[in-house]
């Protein structure tokens, strides 16, 4: 695979990166950025409504052995429907970071889109509208791209969603000072890496470098003679010409790999679930582009609305995916020991079940704003010396809107955006 041609920050220790203000050739004043903790953040929205009872409190055994310490057996009544996969790495994520066991989704409806948009903007979304409406406050991608590097490429910010619906609308907001110019590269792997997409994109006409230059000449001529100019951002997030080529190559290579069967059993555990495939695609992006900011979600546990045991089984799969994601991060040059992984459920589930019984006799669970549906956990994993290792915080501490200011602090632009955000940096997790 072709790597990016521009200089990357080296896998570093804690070198300060404070730059005095100076005037850019463009005339723009570039304000100093703060000190970075690490150069990369991967944030996982885990995993479609996870109740603390089944997660960190292990009411049915340890369903998350890649994340949590302990070897508690799976409850006997559901064990027949739960297939433990094992561990993706030698260490559990709890050992390489800080686990906030009593995190909260404190405000707003406990719905998937509200949960996603709240945690990705750092501002609670108090509306329970599940339509393709962009948030009106900037997302973490826009805050990062606008307030860190003046020329931050979209290749440095990725939003990897396992479902369509309203989630494509979260790569940038409708805020007039932000928007598509600062948005993330959005990808929904299940749609893009598909037979339909291969049919539409997979066999393109190729042009020589000289021909590409001629295309640019002709297109530039046409555009200069057209009175109406396309509004920047009207076609969504746009990659630069050079980045576009890299992304296009990446897409075509994934088609070739998928067509050749390389994606049939990439983790050696058999076919991947929807969540696992989504994380797998995120791993490919990590290996290819080493983005400074990535948000990836999982949603399969939402089957809990009508099947509790399947929810438990999907929680096992999501946990394995999270562990495998960490292994990939730690084996990718540039990101190893230079990345903080944050995992937070967008919300929990109700204390009381609904009336649907699964084949194992368990009642299903919804998430309709009761207290337990606001109880979630937060895991912050990262390199020793930067993130407090093997720490568990049992008391109620932290909430969903704290993730964005924490990422801002990690990537060194918190001084630019701190006043905009109501949440707090999760400093208890950091050295």
């Amino acid at each position: 695979m072709k790597r990016r041609g521009f200089i990357k920050k080296a896998a570093a220790t804690s070198a300060a990166a404070f730059v005095a203000p100076y005037i850019l050739p463009s005339g723009r004043l570039f304000a100093a950025t703060g000190t970075r903790i690490v150069d990369h953040v991967v944030f996982c929205l885990f995993a479609g409504g996870v109740r603390n009872l089944e997660a960190v409190h292990k009411a049915d055994g340890n369903l998350m052995p890649n994340t949590l310490l302990g070897s508690e057996s799976i409850s006997s009544d559901i064990s027949g429907g739960v297939n433990l996969i094992g561990q993706a790495g030698s260490q559990r994520l709890q050992e390489v970071g800080t686990l906030f066991k009593e995190f909260r989704f404190a405000q707003g409806p406990t719905g998937h889109f509200s949960g996603h948009s709240s945690v990705m903007t750092g501002v609670y979304n108090l509306q329970d509208i599940n339509i393709r409406q962009r948030p009106n406050t900037p997302t973490i991608f826009e805050l990062y791209r606008k307030h860190t590097d003046p020329s931050a490429s979209a290749l440095n910010a990725w939003w990897v969603s396992n479902a369509l619906g309203p989630y494509p609308a979260l790569n940038f907001s409708s805020h007039p000072e932000y928007g598509a110019l600062y948005g993330a590269n959005y990808i929904q792997p299940a749609s893009l890496i598909s037979n339909e997409s291969y049919a539409a994109l997979g066999n393109p006409k190729t042009f020589s470098n000289e021909q590409k230059d001629l295309v640019n000449q002709m297109r530039g001529f046409f555009d200069n003679h057209f009175g109406n100019q396309v509004v920047e951002g009207s076609a969504g997030v746009t990659n630069s010409a050079s980045d576009k080529e890299l992304v296009e190559q990446f897409i075509l290579e994934t088609f070739n790999n998928a067509a050749s069967g390389l994606y049939n059993n990439p983790w050696g555990i058999g076919g991947l679930s929807g969540d696992q495939f989504n994380v797998f695609a995120a791993e490919k992006i990590i290996e290819e582009f080493q983005p400074e900011l990535m948000v990836v979600n999982m949603q399969d546990v939402d089957v809990c609305h009508n099947n509790f045991t399947a929810y438990a089984n999907n929680l096992v799969k999501a946990d394995y995916a999270l562990g495998h994601l960490w292994q990939t991060i730690q084996s990718t040059p540039g990101m190893a020991d230079n990345t903080v992984l944050i995992a937070v459920p967008e919300h929990g589930r109700n204390a009381q079940p609904n009336t649907v019984i699964d084949p194992y006799g368990r009642y299903a669970l919804d998430h309709t704003n009761d207290d337990m549906s606001r109880e979630i956990f937060c895991l912050v994993a990262g390199p020793a010396g930067k993130v407090v290792q093997n720490q568990v915080i049992d008391q109620v501490m932290g909430e969903s809107i704290d993730v964005v200011p924490t990422i801002a602090k990690i990537l060194g632009f918190d001084d630019q955006v701190g006043g905009m955000l109501p949440g707090q940096h999760l400093e208890a997790a950091f050295v």
Partner: protein, 166 residues
């Protein structure tokens, strides 16, 4: 004296003859301008194509037939799976241009009559004819660059801003 009188008469007759021969009715000359279809490049193109319109029109422009619902749904899938819509459009256009079914002149046909090729291509994609400068510029570019193929011209037009509008 008599001679002078003759001369005067003949001179008078000559003058009259000259006057008669020189006097012609002034022709009415009317200066007209040849009718030329004058349009601004963006005349009447204020609306951006929607995703469905773009795909449908591109398909029709290249294959000479309307896209059916199944084909439209197939092409819409990658749009939903990736956020850089221009990149996806570029890839869709290149994929279409690589199809055996695309209706496009050969390179030799293009070069046999570049003027006509450009007139036809502007009309196909921009729904107008090129102005004199556009025609001159593009003709020179094609004639001076053997690397330019009809596919290249089509691709450049279909990924230009004007093609996104109607």
């Amino acid at each position: 004296m008599r001679t002078m009188k003759h001369i005067s008469i003949w001179a008078l007759v000559a003058m009259i003859a000259i006057q008669i021969s020189g006097c012609t009715k002034e022709k009415d000359i009317i200066y007209e301008v040849n009718d030329v279809d004058v349009q601004q490049p963006n005349a009447n193109k204020d609306y951006a194509k929607t995703l469905t319109e773009f795909i449908s029109i591109a398909f029709a422009d290249l294959f000479g037939q309307n896209i059916n619902q199944a084909q439209l749904q197939t092409l819409a899938v990658p749009y939903s799976g990736f956020g850089d819509l221009k990149l996806i459009e570029d890839m869709i256009i290149k994929n279409m241009l690589n199809s055996q079914a695309v209706i496009i002149p050969s390179d030799s046909e293009m070069r046999a009559n570049v003027d006509q090729f450009l007139l036809d291509t502007y009309q196909k994609f921009f729904n107008r004819y090129p102005n004199e400068f556009e025609l001159w510029h593009m003709k020179n570019l094609i004639n001076e660059n053997s690397e330019i193929t009809p596919e290249l011209v089509y691709y450049s037009m279909m990924t230009s801003n004007e093609y996104r509008y109607y």
